[in-house]
Symmetry: C2
Subunit: 141 residues, 2 copies
Amino acid sequence: MLQCNKKAENGAMSWLDEVKWDAQGLVPVIAQEAATGDVLMFAWMNREALAKTAELGRAVYFSRSRGRLWFKGEESGHVQTVHEIRLDCDNDVVLLKVTQLGHEPGIACHTGRHSCFFSVLKDGAWQAVDPVLKDPESIYK
Amino acid sequence: MLQCNKKAENGAMSWLDEVKWDAQGLVPVIAQEAATGDVLMFAWMNREALAKTAELGRAVYFSRSRGRLWFKGEESGHVQTVHEIRLDCDNDVVLLKVTQLGHEPGIACHTGRHSCFFSVLKDGAWQAVDPVLKDPESIYK
């Protein structure tokens, strides 16, 4: 007998089924630093990435450009420990409360900055206002 | 002579041109409470919504379900004053630092809660952990 692989083995709905995946099977994810409240980055997860994130307690995203799971920190060492996984009122956006490991203060951005949101709109232009904490060339060897 | 309406009048690139709009002409937006750091909600903007947000200093989103601009608070009175507009390293996600008006503490969510991210994954299930601050029926009359 065929079994729907989206159901948990006991026939109950899985928490993963309650997420409203988009047409590509993805959900947008916001990573927020637990200790500071800083919004570090925005990425996407598929079902497998979210399941892995919950299982491992570390952020696993889905890289749309590479078309595969992206274990955050797999190259940079800048792993994110996940303390809490939240879902929004429409069940279609995930919020992670994380600790950004690998550097102090944490570096979430591939540019070597704390947060990916380092550009501010000022006088009609985007201006990079946050410092590079580490040379990206020394992060991605 | 035809003029490209995506260029500013002086021929310079507009800050709006630097945003990487998706195939639907939208960009994802995170609204974060300036005073607390709380992530309040996630929504989308088109070019006009982002321009209006910057012009008015209040959050204007694009409602995908209604297919039109959504002046946050237009029905609920829960307007968001915008203090800062940030862009991420890929130029494809916007972060707003806002003050949530209309109630104390602020109500960003249509369920009458402070934040849309009121559900936490706990013991394999999504659990609503944040209180309803105001009955939605009295918000949307």
